[in-house]
Symmetry: C2
Subunit: 122 residues, 2 copies
DNA sequence: CTTACATATCAGCATCAGCTGATATCAGAA
DNA sequence: TTCTGATATCAGCTGATGCTGATATGTAAG
């Protein structure tokens, strides 16, 4: 966001914090449960209880993931009496997930097998 | 991987392992250094030494991330004498990253601030 | 008020994924 | 072969991130 007053040679790509945030963004998508939630709310609006039942996961777990998705703008909520309904907040979320899925299918075997003794667990 | 002999009602969305792999896929994108590498090799082919210099990160670190990206099909390599050149393996990788970036900008503040005491660190 | 239901939050624990520094491999030059 | 340069791999450590079970909040009905 800063002006370009750089004259010294060999400057870094001038994208300091951007990459950090973007990484954080993709990490939200890097969880099985959160992906399944996104899939479900993409179909139609869902209450927390509904998600808990369908996913078969403990309520606190689902709720925590929902809080994450909500805070980061992936889903939005609507209250009706005592229940809270979650829906997709942005259609582009579906697009990212779909694109990821497409790319995955060309490398599924590798990504599955990726469990290097060392380094990134991929 | 098992056959589908399920008849009981209220079955799970029948996407058991898919979500796991997809999550793993997005986790590859969930690292600052890997994203910066992808950005650099998207511009043009880069050798390991070049990446190490530009990124200003230790060689073992860069190399580990490169191994991850290569194994998972994000980048491809070409050998020339003693140096190895990395390039983007699939143009769609750029598309996913760009889409993520676009979505990020509408929620950057939140995602940045996301450091819940509990639950997902988002 | 009290009770019941729906959801959210928290602390403690366990595990995973990235970092570091040393070492290994591998290709080419002498 | 021996030496040097370029990259890859490894073990050990550490911090981040997800899970669990209990508790808190909040809303509506009696």
């Amino acid at each position: 966001m800063e002006a370009a007053t750089l004259t010294a040679p060999f400057r870094l790509p001038a994208a300091p914090a951007e990459a950090d945030l973007l990484a954080k963004y993709f990490r939200v998508l890097g969880d099985r449960t959160r992906l399944r939630v996104l899939e479900l709310v993409a179909e139609r609006e869902r209450s927390v209880g509904e998600l808990v039942t369908v996913l078969g996961e403990p309520q606190s777990k689902v709720s925590n993931h929902l809080a994450c998705l909500r805070w980061c703008g992936f889903v939005a909520t609507r209250r009706e009496h005592r229940t809270i309904h979650y829906r997709l907040a942005d259609e582009r979320v579906t697009a990212v997930v779909e694109l990821g899925r497409a790319l995955l299918h060309d490398n599924a075997e590798h990504i599955d097998a990726c469990a290097r003794v060392d380094g990134p667990g991929c």
